[in-house]
Symmetry: C2
Amino acid sequence: MRITIAGAGAMGSRFGLMLHRGGNEVTLVDGWLEHVTAIKEHGLQANFNGEEITAHLSVELQSNISSEEKTDLIILFTKAMQLDKMLQDIKPLIAEHTKVLCLLNGIGHEDIIEKYVSKNNIFIGNTMWTAGLEGPGKAKLFGNGSVELQNFIPGEEETAKKLADILSASGLNANYSDNIHYSIYRKACVNGTMNGLCTILDTNMAGLGATKPAHDMVVTIVKEFAAVAKHEDVNLDIDEVVEHVETCFDPETIGLHYPSMYQDLINNNRLTEIDYINGAVSRKGKKYQIATPYCDFLTQLVHSKEELLKAK
Amino acid sequence: MRITIAGAGAMGSRFGLMLHRGGNEVTLVDGWLEHVTAIKEHGLQANFNGEEITAHLSVELQSNISSEEKTDLIILFTKAMQLDKMLQDIKPLIAEHTKVLCLLNGIGHEDIIEKYVSKNNIFIGNTMWTAGLEGPGKAKLFGNGSVELQNFIPGEEETAKKLADILSASGLNANYSDNIHYSIYRKACVNGTMNGLCTILDTNMAGLGATKPAHDMVVTIVKEFAAVAKHEDVNLDIDEVVEHVETCFDPETIGLHYPSMYQDLINNNRLTEIDYINGAVSRKGKKYQIATPYCDFLTQLVHSKEELLKAK
């Protein structure tokens, strides 16, 4: 199967590598020149669960898509704010039969994808895999994970199940979900609390969790996500989600980790995905006339911090 | 007149010094041992508008009030969270005729003062003077300022005017106000925006003001203050107050200054007065059933930051 990974950062590299090893014809597409050049010259190098491997994958710079050969499946793995540009750039690869699977963090990406792809070809997913990049062309891929996915509009359940099978055949442990929006909102609650709060308070998740106000802040933010989700017929179990979110505080497991937004903004002075997490809840709240003041304020604070740090 | 300055930090030192030079019998009371000892041994030293002066004032450690001599006027100048303890400690100095003038930053101190002083003896004020401490026993006092004050309960207008005259006789430029709560809320709006936001975003006021979300954050917070004030029959002019607050952004005037809360928490790892600014609005909001989510969230963030920095 011809598969295009649109956005070949850490996670895109993992999926590309595993699907390539599973026998698919994979092309990575990315906007980072050094990364693309390194893969072209030396292949994608990875420490894959302790084993050093090199995979000679096809790779293209997204601003320079030369191929007109249509692809069968596009897996979207860009940063949220790069999604629209990516879809513009890879338009030549999209045929009438091309399926598009969105595995981005955050919520509300469908609005953008719909501009480029017919709804019956859109599939939405959520992944629990992790991945890291050590430099251009070098990935670090440890541990296990899973994928859940679902068709965007009714009637495409069988195709969704087939896509899950294709991913699973390469070890990606994918399952069809009949309620992907629940999983996406539940995961967004983790990002919507840990990311912004740790970034603004300059701490890791255990540090945040050890402060007295943390619990009330988490509860209030999760309630705002739940109120907006409910308007989309997704009924989050608030207590369960809060408990799930707060497992991140545990210093014995992942608590000492700094969330991705912290790494982006504080360590690397890069713009954040806040508009696709808390900011998306704010926009939806406005649309549905639901007050989301904590999401509004957190989004504003993170944007101010981006400006103060001259993030790009 | 026998005047006790309860809380002889920078501003208390200014008032004590000026009232002493104006011919009053002033005693400073404070909890900082090194400061009290320095003043006892060398007098209060000050650079007073460029002139180096030394004033031999009476001074006492608040935990060790030895005098049983009653005082005529107490001017309260503690940090907000130290007010209750101060009033407990200086109880021996309070007679039936003793007037108490509260010039603390923030709102809602009356609830505490009422526990120790009969309402007819309570006066509330607001000062635009500035002051700095360079070390124990050493003040730096530049520029001009003013004081507004009012009786806490009706019927004491004449006494309030007399108190203003006493302060003015020593150059403190005090005036009777018939709407002190307006001035206090207006000033609290400055502290309720600049203090918390600059502290959490780690920037000075010009830095904050240069970011796009700053204006909307200021407006939302001022509206919460105004909603609570309205419930107390104080009708803030929101546009005027926002404009007043935003003069702080000007780098040509005070914009490059870091607000006092920033200095307390970020520079000196000291606990902040947030509970008497945004936190007071939150508490009042809860009591009046008015939503104050920005004040709630900002208070929580500052408290988390206090814990993370192990502030004392």
